[in-house]
Amino acid sequence: METIFFLIITLVAIISAILVVTCKNPINSALSLIMTFFCLATYYVMLDAPFMAAVQVMVYAGAIMVLMVFTIMLLNIRVDASKKHSHKLIIGSIMGFFTLLDLGYVIVKSRAALPTGPFSGDMIKQLGHTELIGREIFTSFLLPFEITSILLLTAIVGAVILAKKKI
């Protein structure tokens, strides 16, 4: 059951990932990317990480991609069908080839292992994924969390200052 489901989702993920780069219309590309994010969220659910799935959809599909679509709309990019797009074919294919080599190396050399440490699948199901993540973030990883939030705050203040000349 789960394998069949996994295969279907993977098929959708691969097709939409291909469509992201092949679509001529930027909005259709963006839509395909959202579909890919959605498939990723499904993988998180199958890995017993529902919190990650919800955050994936909320942050990537719900917030970041809305801003992307918003920008495309504001610039109002229309595809001119007669214009031929040059995607720098040779450089692109060399890059793609090396990425493929890289990925192949990683897949061949790495071994799939169950996660070690105190967290097991049963424990996550018992306590809830959200509680575990929350506890870890605010105890073991407090300093990185605080540093990241200050970084984000700086970015927000910077954006406001750049966008508004008079404050």
């Binding site: 059951m1 909005i27 839509l31 529902p50 919190f51 799935a53 909320m58 959200t130």
Partner: protein, 354 residues
Amino acid sequence: MGIEILGLPLMYYIAMVAKVLVAFVFVLLTVAYATYAERKIIGHMQVRLGPMRTGWHGLLQPIADGVKLFFKEEIVPSQASTFAFLIAPLIALIPAFITFAVIPFGGVIEVAGYKVPLQIAAYYDTTAGQVFDVNVGVLYILAMSSLGVYGIVLAGWASNSKYSLMGGLRASAQMISYELAAGLAIISVFMLSGTLSLSKIVELQSGFNGFEWYVFKQPLAAFMFFICSLAEINRTPFDLPEAETELVSGFCTEYSSMKYAMFFMAEYANMVTVCALTVTLFLGGWNGPFTAAMPLLGPVYFIAKVYFLMFVCMWIRATLPRYRYDQLMHLGWKVFIPVALINIVVTGIVGYFI
């Protein structure tokens, strides 16, 4: 339980399909008759009669409307971006319906010795003796409602019309802003409940004949969440994306026939979902007197509370004029978000000392 399919009893599948069908039909019928109720209620509030001709007091009006929209001509503007134009109504409609998967509309009922929790994405574990549901139910709803934006944005952009584009731009800005405020407003509820699972939140509000409802503990959060949700689903007084007087019909100006009807249905389905979520989070969900003795009363209370809130939505529409755009942004960013943040801090301090 004799027959088993893929490790689960047959009854599980039957119960699941039945629950999905019942919830779906319920939302569809509510959507159809919400349009009638809205016209009737606003009519009476403005000392008019509302629809009277089709059937007794216009009761068949939604069916007549449906037939009319179904047989209208489908028009796709020649300069429109076809794929996005066709898929936009679907993207608007589907998130509005699938959010109902995690909302509990009743307690556990027993059918032929098999215990069925009245919530679609949930099952009853006989060994543990309790209901397990999606333990990130609220986040799931927030995620799905954030997807609903795409329908409106795409509709606005793909139509290739100035009015639609303006409507779409307004809608996306408004929905993103108010999503934040609504999300921040309900954090204080989770601070009290300690869980994101909706069935547990309902369970926690069950005591003392309604005095355990979170609306009494978090009145500010309840008020802000309801207002922000109205803004997020573009209801009056925040219906700027389809402001008739300025933008013809906003993002759905170029749509006709069933595609227009889909946007209409999405709007009302969103209203049902928002009211159901408010009921679940703040008004005790399906709790009410005698539910322990008669579990089937749960859905009745749930529906009554949802319909009451929908009436409040229509009441607001009949009473208040539309907000101006700068007022709307001011309200969202400079009033609701700071107040919600203060509410979280106060809840944290009070929760620490009690």
